[in-house]
Protein backbone atom coordinates (compact mmCIF):
# COMPACT_ATOMS: atom_id res chain seq x y z
CA UNK A 1 0.00 0.00 0.00
CA UNK A 2 1.19 3.48 -0.71
CA UNK A 3 0.27 6.71 1.00
CA UNK A 4 -2.79 7.28 -1.09
CA UNK A 5 -4.12 3.79 -0.50
CA UNK A 6 -3.54 4.14 3.20
CA UNK A 7 -5.38 7.43 3.33
CA UNK A 8 -8.29 6.03 1.33
CA UNK A 9 -8.54 3.04 3.67
CA UNK A 10 -8.53 5.26 6.73
CA UNK A 11 -11.19 7.53 5.25
CA UNK A 12 -13.37 4.53 4.56
CA UNK A 13 -12.87 3.18 8.08
CA UNK A 14 -13.73 6.59 9.54
CA UNK A 15 -17.01 6.60 7.66
CA UNK A 16 -17.78 3.02 8.62
CA UNK A 17 -17.22 3.72 12.29
CA UNK A 18 -19.46 6.78 12.24
CA UNK A 19 -22.12 4.91 10.33
CA UNK A 20 -22.10 1.94 12.69
CA UNK A 21 -22.21 4.26 15.69
CA UNK A 22 -24.81 6.59 14.21
CA UNK A 23 -22.45 9.51 14.59
CA UNK A 24 -19.57 10.32 16.92
CA UNK A 25 -21.49 10.25 20.15
CA UNK A 26 -19.53 8.63 23.03
CA UNK A 27 -16.72 7.67 20.66
CA UNK A 28 -13.18 7.36 22.01
CA UNK A 29 -10.44 6.34 19.59
CA UNK A 30 -7.50 4.61 21.28
CA UNK A 31 -4.36 3.61 19.46
CA UNK A 32 -2.21 0.69 20.53
CA UNK A 33 1.47 1.72 20.57
CA UNK A 34 3.53 2.06 18.55
CA UNK A 35 1.87 2.58 15.13
CA UNK A 36 -1.70 2.30 16.30
CA UNK A 37 -1.29 5.68 17.97
CA UNK A 38 -0.77 7.86 14.85
CA UNK A 39 -3.41 5.81 13.02
CA UNK A 40 -5.88 6.52 15.82
CA UNK A 41 -5.05 10.20 15.65
CA UNK A 42 -5.64 10.25 11.90
CA UNK A 43 -8.93 8.39 12.21
CA UNK A 44 -10.13 10.74 14.92
CA UNK A 45 -9.19 13.72 12.80
CA UNK A 46 -11.00 12.31 9.77
CA UNK A 47 -14.09 11.65 11.86
CA UNK A 48 -13.88 15.09 13.39
CA UNK A 49 -13.83 16.62 9.91
CA UNK A 50 -16.97 14.71 8.98
CA UNK A 51 -18.76 15.51 12.22
CA UNK A 52 -17.59 19.07 12.59
CA UNK A 53 -16.27 18.64 16.10
CA UNK A 54 -13.23 16.87 17.59
CA UNK A 55 -13.43 13.19 18.39
CA UNK A 56 -11.50 12.24 21.57
CA UNK A 57 -8.40 10.19 20.96
CA UNK A 58 -5.68 8.66 23.08
CA UNK A 59 -3.49 5.65 23.44
CA UNK A 60 -3.63 2.38 25.33
CA UNK A 61 -0.41 0.58 26.20
CA UNK A 62 -0.88 -3.16 26.59
CA UNK A 63 2.67 -4.29 27.37
CA UNK A 64 1.95 -5.40 30.92
CA UNK A 65 -1.07 -7.37 29.74
CA UNK A 66 0.81 -9.47 27.21
CA UNK A 67 0.83 -13.23 27.69
CA UNK A 68 4.42 -13.61 26.48
CA UNK A 69 6.20 -11.24 28.90
CA UNK A 70 8.18 -14.02 30.47
CA UNK A 71 9.50 -15.46 27.24
CA UNK A 72 11.62 -12.44 26.34
CA UNK A 73 13.87 -9.85 27.91
CA UNK A 74 12.04 -7.09 29.76
CA UNK A 75 9.97 -5.04 27.33
CA UNK A 76 9.91 -1.29 27.51
CA UNK A 77 6.48 -0.08 28.56
CA UNK A 78 4.63 2.56 26.56
CA UNK A 79 2.27 5.23 27.79
CA UNK A 80 -1.43 5.09 28.33
CA UNK A 81 -3.21 8.39 27.71
CA UNK A 82 -6.98 8.50 28.03
CA UNK A 83 -8.94 11.52 26.79
CA UNK A 84 -11.64 10.85 29.38
CA UNK A 85 -13.49 8.20 31.31
CA UNK A 86 -13.87 4.89 29.47
CA UNK A 87 -17.02 4.05 31.42
CA UNK A 88 -19.92 4.18 28.96
CA UNK A 89 -17.71 5.15 26.04
CA UNK A 90 -17.67 3.45 22.68
CA UNK A 91 -14.00 2.64 22.41
CA UNK A 92 -12.48 2.13 18.99
CA UNK A 93 -9.19 0.29 19.36
CA UNK A 94 -6.79 0.99 16.51
CA UNK A 95 -3.73 -1.03 15.52
CA UNK A 96 -1.66 -1.24 12.37
CA UNK A 97 -1.66 -4.99 11.74
CA UNK A 98 -3.97 -7.73 12.98
CA UNK A 99 -2.12 -11.04 13.09
CA UNK A 100 -2.35 -13.56 15.95
CA UNK A 101 -4.93 -11.47 17.79
CA UNK A 102 -3.03 -11.70 21.08
CA UNK A 103 -2.32 -7.97 21.22
CA UNK A 104 -6.05 -7.32 20.94
CA UNK A 105 -6.76 -9.72 23.80
CA UNK A 106 -4.18 -7.87 25.91
CA UNK A 107 -5.86 -4.58 24.95
CA UNK A 108 -9.28 -5.89 25.99
CA UNK A 109 -7.81 -6.93 29.36
CA UNK A 110 -6.19 -3.53 29.79
CA UNK A 111 -9.46 -1.74 29.00
CA UNK A 112 -11.28 -3.98 31.41
CA UNK A 113 -9.07 -2.73 34.26
CA UNK A 114 -9.71 0.88 33.28
CA UNK A 115 -13.48 0.74 33.37
CA UNK A 116 -16.56 -0.52 31.53
CA UNK A 117 -17.02 0.83 28.00
CA UNK A 118 -20.47 0.64 26.44
CA UNK A 119 -18.89 -1.10 23.45
CA UNK A 120 -15.47 -1.88 22.03
CA UNK A 121 -14.71 -1.87 18.30
CA UNK A 122 -11.53 -2.88 16.57
CA UNK A 123 -10.12 -1.09 13.53
CA UNK A 124 -6.91 -2.21 11.80
CA UNK A 125 -5.07 -1.00 8.74
CA UNK A 126 -4.04 -4.49 7.65
CA UNK A 127 -5.42 -7.92 8.45
CA UNK A 128 -2.87 -10.55 7.47
CA UNK A 129 -4.67 -13.60 8.86
CA UNK A 130 -3.16 -16.42 10.97
CA UNK A 131 -5.32 -15.77 14.03
CA UNK A 132 -4.46 -17.72 17.18
CA UNK A 133 -7.43 -16.52 19.23
CA UNK A 134 -11.10 -15.93 18.29
CA UNK A 135 -10.80 -12.25 17.48
CA UNK A 136 -11.94 -10.38 14.40
CA UNK A 137 -11.74 -6.77 13.36
CA UNK A 138 -14.84 -4.65 12.88
CA UNK A 139 -13.08 -2.41 10.35
CA UNK A 140 -10.21 -3.47 8.09
CA UNK A 141 -8.25 -1.24 5.73
CA UNK A 142 -6.94 -4.09 3.63
CA UNK A 143 -6.83 -7.86 3.84
CA UNK A 144 -3.34 -9.06 2.96
CA UNK A 145 -3.03 -12.83 2.65
CA UNK A 146 0.44 -13.80 3.82
CA UNK A 147 2.48 -16.83 4.71
CA UNK A 148 3.49 -17.08 8.35
CA UNK A 149 7.20 -16.79 7.53
CA UNK A 150 6.55 -13.46 5.85
CA UNK A 151 6.35 -10.23 7.71
CA UNK A 152 4.21 -7.17 7.17
CA UNK A 153 6.02 -3.91 7.53
CA UNK A 154 3.96 -0.78 8.19
CA UNK A 155 5.67 2.57 7.97
CA UNK A 156 3.90 5.83 8.83
CA UNK A 157 4.95 9.40 8.25
CA UNK A 158 4.67 10.21 11.95
CA UNK A 159 7.13 7.51 13.01
CA UNK A 160 9.01 6.49 9.88
CA UNK A 161 8.83 9.57 7.60
CA UNK A 162 6.86 7.69 4.94
CA UNK A 163 3.48 6.01 4.53
CA UNK A 164 3.90 2.49 3.18
CA UNK A 165 2.87 -1.10 3.80
CA UNK A 166 5.03 -3.90 2.44
CA UNK A 167 5.37 -7.64 2.74
CA UNK A 168 8.91 -8.73 3.60
CA UNK A 169 9.71 -12.21 2.43
CA UNK A 170 13.12 -12.70 3.96
CA UNK A 171 13.93 -12.01 7.57
CA UNK A 172 15.95 -8.83 7.69
CA UNK A 173 18.02 -7.72 10.62
CA UNK A 174 15.97 -5.72 13.06
CA UNK A 175 15.67 -2.32 11.46
CA UNK A 176 13.70 -0.82 14.28
CA UNK A 177 10.85 -0.37 11.87
CA UNK A 178 7.53 -1.77 12.94
CA UNK A 179 6.94 -5.32 11.84
CA UNK A 180 4.24 -6.80 13.93
CA UNK A 181 5.70 -10.31 13.93
CA UNK A 182 8.54 -9.25 16.19
CA UNK A 183 6.59 -7.41 18.77
Amino acid sequence: MNAEEINRSLARIAHQVLEANHGARDLMVLGIPTRGVPLAARLARLMGEVEGHPVPTGQLDVTMYRDDLRSQPTRPVGRTVLPGDVDGAVVVLVDDVLYSGRTVVAALDALHDLGRPAAIRLAVLVDRGHRQVPVRADHVGKNLPTASHERVQVRLAETDDVDAVAILRDTPADTGVGTEGTR
Binding site: Y65, L69, T74, V77, D113, L114
Partner: protein, 314 residues
Protein backbone atom coordinates in the same frame (compact mmCIF):
# COMPACT_ATOMS: atom_id res chain seq x y z
CA UNK B 1 18.61 -6.31 35.05
CA UNK B 2 19.38 -9.22 37.33
CA UNK B 3 19.72 -7.43 40.67
CA UNK B 4 19.46 -3.94 42.08
CA UNK B 5 22.11 -3.86 44.79
CA UNK B 6 23.65 -0.44 44.35
CA UNK B 7 22.64 2.76 42.60
CA UNK B 8 25.94 2.34 40.77
CA UNK B 9 24.45 -0.69 38.98
CA UNK B 10 22.22 1.60 36.89
CA UNK B 11 23.18 3.24 33.62
CA UNK B 12 21.70 6.60 32.64
CA UNK B 13 19.34 4.82 30.23
CA UNK B 14 18.20 2.46 32.95
CA UNK B 15 17.59 5.27 35.41
CA UNK B 16 15.62 7.20 32.82
CA UNK B 17 13.66 4.07 31.93
CA UNK B 18 12.81 3.42 35.57
CA UNK B 19 11.74 7.01 36.22
CA UNK B 20 9.67 7.17 33.03
CA UNK B 21 7.86 3.96 33.83
CA UNK B 22 7.32 5.18 37.39
CA UNK B 23 5.41 8.12 35.90
CA UNK B 24 3.11 5.63 34.17
CA UNK B 25 2.82 3.55 37.32
CA UNK B 26 1.84 6.56 39.37
CA UNK B 27 -1.33 6.79 37.26
CA UNK B 28 -2.32 3.32 38.36
CA UNK B 29 -2.99 4.71 41.81
CA UNK B 30 -5.91 6.70 40.44
CA UNK B 31 -7.50 3.88 38.46
CA UNK B 32 -10.57 1.93 39.54
CA UNK B 33 -8.58 -1.31 39.35
CA UNK B 34 -5.16 -0.58 40.90
CA UNK B 35 -3.63 -3.63 39.40
CA UNK B 36 -1.57 -4.54 36.39
CA UNK B 37 -1.08 -8.19 35.48
CA UNK B 38 2.58 -7.91 34.52
CA UNK B 39 4.00 -10.00 37.37
CA UNK B 40 1.16 -12.51 37.61
CA UNK B 41 2.56 -15.80 38.83
CA UNK B 42 5.71 -14.20 40.22
CA UNK B 43 6.57 -14.47 43.88
CA UNK B 44 8.28 -11.65 45.70
CA UNK B 45 9.53 -12.07 49.24
CA UNK B 46 10.18 -9.07 51.42
CA UNK B 47 12.96 -10.42 53.62
CA UNK B 48 13.39 -7.81 56.31
CA UNK B 49 16.09 -8.32 58.93
CA UNK B 50 15.37 -4.83 60.20
CA UNK B 51 12.00 -3.22 60.79
CA UNK B 52 10.87 -0.64 58.32
CA UNK B 53 7.15 -0.52 58.03
CA UNK B 54 7.20 2.22 55.44
CA UNK B 55 9.65 0.64 53.05
CA UNK B 56 8.14 -2.80 53.47
CA UNK B 57 4.57 -1.57 52.84
CA UNK B 58 5.76 0.33 49.82
CA UNK B 59 7.37 -2.76 48.30
CA UNK B 60 4.39 -4.86 49.26
CA UNK B 61 1.93 -2.58 47.48
CA UNK B 62 4.23 -2.27 44.50
CA UNK B 63 4.38 -6.03 44.11
CA UNK B 64 0.66 -6.49 44.64
CA UNK B 65 -0.33 -3.80 42.17
CA UNK B 66 1.73 -5.65 39.61
CA UNK B 67 -0.15 -8.86 40.55
CA UNK B 68 2.86 -10.62 42.08
CA UNK B 69 2.34 -12.81 45.10
CA UNK B 70 4.07 -10.96 47.89
CA UNK B 71 4.93 -12.37 51.27
CA UNK B 72 6.70 -10.67 54.12
CA UNK B 73 9.30 -12.56 56.10
CA UNK B 74 10.53 -10.82 59.17
CA UNK B 75 13.92 -12.12 60.18
CA UNK B 76 14.37 -9.47 62.79
CA UNK B 77 16.80 -10.00 65.60
CA UNK B 78 20.34 -11.10 65.19
CA UNK B 79 20.42 -14.37 63.29
CA UNK B 80 23.83 -14.83 64.88
CA UNK B 81 22.18 -15.16 68.26
CA UNK B 82 19.59 -17.56 66.85
CA UNK B 83 22.37 -19.74 65.52
CA UNK B 84 21.18 -19.49 61.93
CA UNK B 85 23.55 -17.93 59.46
CA UNK B 86 22.51 -15.31 56.92
CA UNK B 87 23.23 -17.86 54.22
CA UNK B 88 20.91 -20.43 55.82
CA UNK B 89 18.12 -17.89 56.17
CA UNK B 90 18.44 -16.66 52.61
CA UNK B 91 18.70 -20.15 51.12
CA UNK B 92 15.71 -21.34 53.15
CA UNK B 93 13.55 -18.54 51.85
CA UNK B 94 14.84 -18.89 48.31
CA UNK B 95 14.11 -22.63 48.40
CA UNK B 96 10.39 -21.80 48.46
CA UNK B 97 10.70 -20.94 44.80
CA UNK B 98 10.72 -17.17 44.91
CA UNK B 99 11.46 -14.97 41.93
CA UNK B 100 12.73 -11.97 43.84
CA UNK B 101 14.07 -11.26 47.28
CA UNK B 102 13.69 -7.75 48.60
CA UNK B 103 16.25 -7.58 51.37
CA UNK B 104 16.58 -5.10 54.17
CA UNK B 105 19.41 -5.66 56.64
CA UNK B 106 21.06 -3.69 59.40
CA UNK B 107 24.45 -4.84 58.14
CA UNK B 108 26.10 -3.34 55.08
CA UNK B 109 26.56 -5.74 52.19
CA UNK B 110 24.01 -8.39 53.19
CA UNK B 111 22.05 -8.14 49.89
CA UNK B 112 25.29 -8.34 47.90
CA UNK B 113 26.20 -11.52 49.74
CA UNK B 114 22.71 -12.96 49.25
CA UNK B 115 22.89 -12.30 45.52
CA UNK B 116 25.85 -14.65 45.31
CA UNK B 117 23.97 -17.46 46.99
CA UNK B 118 20.61 -17.52 45.17
CA UNK B 119 19.28 -17.59 41.62
CA UNK B 120 16.44 -15.20 42.44
CA UNK B 121 16.63 -11.50 41.67
CA UNK B 122 17.83 -9.57 44.70
CA UNK B 123 16.71 -6.06 45.44
CA UNK B 124 18.46 -4.01 48.08
CA UNK B 125 15.87 -2.32 50.28
CA UNK B 126 18.50 -0.72 52.49
CA UNK B 127 21.65 -2.34 53.87
CA UNK B 128 23.28 -0.97 57.00
CA UNK B 129 25.08 2.26 56.34
CA UNK B 130 25.76 1.32 52.74
CA UNK B 131 23.00 1.90 50.20
CA UNK B 132 19.29 2.30 49.62
CA UNK B 133 18.97 2.48 45.84
CA UNK B 134 15.17 2.65 45.58
CA UNK B 135 15.15 5.59 47.97
CA UNK B 136 17.59 7.41 45.70
CA UNK B 137 15.39 6.57 42.71
CA UNK B 138 12.30 7.98 44.36
CA UNK B 139 14.24 11.05 45.45
CA UNK B 140 15.33 11.55 41.84
CA UNK B 141 11.74 10.97 40.72
CA UNK B 142 10.42 13.66 43.08
CA UNK B 143 13.17 16.07 42.09
CA UNK B 144 12.56 15.49 38.40
CA UNK B 145 8.85 16.21 38.79
CA UNK B 146 9.70 19.34 40.73
CA UNK B 147 12.15 20.58 38.09
CA UNK B 148 9.84 19.68 35.21
CA UNK B 149 7.01 21.68 36.74
CA UNK B 150 8.86 24.89 35.99
CA UNK B 151 10.92 23.69 33.02
CA UNK B 152 9.86 20.53 31.16
CA UNK B 153 13.20 20.45 29.35
CA UNK B 154 15.45 21.02 32.35
CA UNK B 155 18.93 19.54 32.33
CA UNK B 156 20.23 17.70 35.41
CA UNK B 157 23.66 19.16 34.69
CA UNK B 158 22.33 22.60 35.62
CA UNK B 159 21.12 21.41 39.02
CA UNK B 160 22.81 21.36 42.39
CA UNK B 161 21.68 19.03 45.15
CA UNK B 162 22.98 19.61 48.67
CA UNK B 163 22.83 16.64 51.02
CA UNK B 164 23.10 17.73 54.62
CA UNK B 165 23.51 15.81 57.85
CA UNK B 166 24.79 12.50 59.18
CA UNK B 167 26.55 11.35 56.05
CA UNK B 168 28.65 8.72 57.83
CA UNK B 169 25.69 6.64 58.93
CA UNK B 170 23.42 7.32 55.96
CA UNK B 171 22.72 4.72 53.30
CA UNK B 172 20.59 7.28 51.51
CA UNK B 173 23.49 9.59 50.78
CA UNK B 174 25.66 6.89 49.22
CA UNK B 175 22.92 5.86 46.79
CA UNK B 176 21.99 9.45 46.06
CA UNK B 177 25.54 10.48 45.26
CA UNK B 178 25.93 7.55 42.85
CA UNK B 179 22.56 8.10 41.18
CA UNK B 180 22.86 11.87 40.89
CA UNK B 181 26.31 11.44 39.37
CA UNK B 182 24.76 9.16 36.74
CA UNK B 183 22.10 11.80 36.05
CA UNK B 184 24.75 14.50 35.88
CA UNK B 185 23.74 16.76 38.76
CA UNK B 186 26.24 18.58 40.95
CA UNK B 187 26.18 17.22 44.47
CA UNK B 188 27.45 19.04 47.53
CA UNK B 189 27.74 17.11 50.77
CA UNK B 190 27.46 19.12 53.97
CA UNK B 191 28.17 17.89 57.48
CA UNK B 192 30.26 18.65 60.52
CA UNK B 193 33.70 17.03 60.03
CA UNK B 194 32.80 14.29 62.53
CA UNK B 195 29.96 13.09 60.32
CA UNK B 196 31.83 13.05 57.03
CA UNK B 197 32.51 9.47 55.89
CA UNK B 198 36.15 8.48 55.65
CA UNK B 199 37.37 8.86 52.09
CA UNK B 200 34.50 11.18 51.15
CA UNK B 201 37.01 13.29 49.23
CA UNK B 202 37.13 10.57 46.60
CA UNK B 203 33.34 10.53 46.10
CA UNK B 204 31.93 12.20 42.99
CA UNK B 205 30.70 15.15 45.02
CA UNK B 206 31.90 18.36 46.58
CA UNK B 207 32.26 18.49 50.34
CA UNK B 208 31.61 21.39 52.68
CA UNK B 209 31.33 21.89 56.41
CA UNK B 210 29.49 25.20 56.02
CA UNK B 211 25.79 24.92 55.22
CA UNK B 212 25.30 28.67 54.84
CA UNK B 213 27.95 28.82 52.16
CA UNK B 214 26.15 26.12 50.15
CA UNK B 215 22.54 27.11 50.76
CA UNK B 216 22.22 29.79 48.09
CA UNK B 217 23.38 27.57 45.22
CA UNK B 218 21.25 24.49 45.93
CA UNK B 219 18.25 23.64 43.79
CA UNK B 220 17.40 20.86 46.21
CA UNK B 221 18.37 20.63 49.86
CA UNK B 222 18.15 17.09 51.15
CA UNK B 223 18.16 16.96 54.93
CA UNK B 224 19.21 13.65 56.46
CA UNK B 225 17.92 12.37 59.74
CA UNK B 226 20.26 12.85 62.66
CA UNK B 227 19.80 10.16 65.24
CA UNK B 228 19.87 11.50 68.73
CA UNK B 229 22.06 8.60 69.84
CA UNK B 230 24.85 10.10 67.72
CA UNK B 231 25.28 12.64 70.46
CA UNK B 232 26.44 9.92 72.83
CA UNK B 233 28.98 8.97 70.19
CA UNK B 234 30.42 12.44 70.58
CA UNK B 235 29.83 13.37 66.97
CA UNK B 236 28.53 16.78 68.07
CA UNK B 237 28.08 18.38 71.47
CA UNK B 238 24.36 19.11 71.67
CA UNK B 239 21.25 19.05 69.52
CA UNK B 240 21.05 22.81 69.88
CA UNK B 241 24.52 23.28 68.50
CA UNK B 242 23.77 20.90 65.63
CA UNK B 243 20.63 22.79 64.70
CA UNK B 244 22.44 26.11 64.72
CA UNK B 245 25.17 24.76 62.47
CA UNK B 246 23.38 22.32 60.20
CA UNK B 247 19.63 22.52 60.73
CA UNK B 248 17.26 23.81 58.07
CA UNK B 249 15.93 26.54 60.33
CA UNK B 250 13.28 29.13 59.55
CA UNK B 251 16.05 31.60 58.90
CA UNK B 252 17.78 29.31 56.42
CA UNK B 253 14.46 28.46 54.80
CA UNK B 254 14.12 32.14 53.93
CA UNK B 255 17.55 32.12 52.32
CA UNK B 256 16.94 29.17 49.98
CA UNK B 257 17.38 29.83 46.29
CA UNK B 258 14.00 30.81 44.79
CA UNK B 259 12.20 27.69 43.61
CA UNK B 260 14.46 25.37 45.57
CA UNK B 261 12.94 22.18 46.98
CA UNK B 262 13.43 20.41 50.29
CA UNK B 263 13.75 16.64 50.54
CA UNK B 264 13.96 14.39 53.54
CA UNK B 265 14.01 10.58 53.39
CA UNK B 266 12.22 10.47 56.76
CA UNK B 267 11.46 9.99 59.49
CA UNK B 268 12.05 13.63 60.35
CA UNK B 269 13.39 14.97 63.60
CA UNK B 270 11.40 18.18 63.62
CA UNK B 271 13.28 20.87 65.44
CA UNK B 272 16.63 19.12 65.06
CA UNK B 273 17.72 18.85 61.44
CA UNK B 274 14.59 20.44 60.02
CA UNK B 275 12.29 23.09 61.42
CA UNK B 276 8.53 22.66 61.26
CA UNK B 277 8.37 25.67 58.93
CA UNK B 278 10.70 23.97 56.48
CA UNK B 279 9.07 20.54 56.76
CA UNK B 280 5.63 21.95 56.06
CA UNK B 281 6.60 24.63 53.57
CA UNK B 282 5.48 24.65 49.97
CA UNK B 283 9.04 23.85 48.99
CA UNK B 284 8.92 20.52 50.80
CA UNK B 285 8.75 17.41 48.64
CA UNK B 286 8.54 15.09 51.63
CA UNK B 287 5.01 13.84 50.98
CA UNK B 288 5.66 13.55 47.24
CA UNK B 289 8.64 11.38 48.09
CA UNK B 290 6.47 9.00 50.07
CA UNK B 291 3.75 8.95 47.41
CA UNK B 292 6.33 8.26 44.71
CA UNK B 293 7.70 5.29 46.59
CA UNK B 294 5.18 2.75 45.36
CA UNK B 295 5.32 3.87 41.74
CA UNK B 296 9.11 3.82 41.69
CA UNK B 297 9.23 0.38 43.27
CA UNK B 298 6.64 -0.93 40.82
CA UNK B 299 8.86 0.30 38.05
CA UNK B 300 11.93 -1.34 39.58
CA UNK B 301 10.11 -4.64 40.13
CA UNK B 302 8.91 -4.59 36.54
CA UNK B 303 12.42 -3.93 35.28
CA UNK B 304 13.75 -6.84 37.31
CA UNK B 305 10.92 -9.32 36.85
CA UNK B 306 8.96 -8.20 33.79
CA UNK B 307 10.85 -10.32 31.30
CA UNK B 308 12.46 -13.70 31.12
CA UNK B 309 14.68 -14.95 33.87
CA UNK B 310 17.87 -13.84 32.19
CA UNK B 311 17.14 -10.35 33.41
CA UNK B 312 18.03 -8.72 30.09
CA UNK B 313 16.37 -5.55 28.91
CA UNK B 314 15.04 -5.36 25.40
Amino acid sequence: MKHLLSAADLSLDEVTGILDLAEEMSQVQSRPVKKLPALRGRTVVNLFFEDSTRTRSSFELAGKWLSADVINVSAKGSSVSKGESLRDTVLTVAAMGVDALVIRHMASGAPQQAAQWVDAHVLNAGDGTHEHPTQALLDAFSMRRHFRASDPDFDWRDKTVAVVGDLTHSRVVRSNVLLLRTLGARVVLVAPPTLLPSGVQSWPAEVSTDLDEVLGSADVVMMLRVQRERMSGGYFPTAREYTVGYGLTRDRLARLKPGAAICHPGPMNRGLEISADAADSAASLVLDQVASGVAVRMSVLYHLLGGDDEGGTR
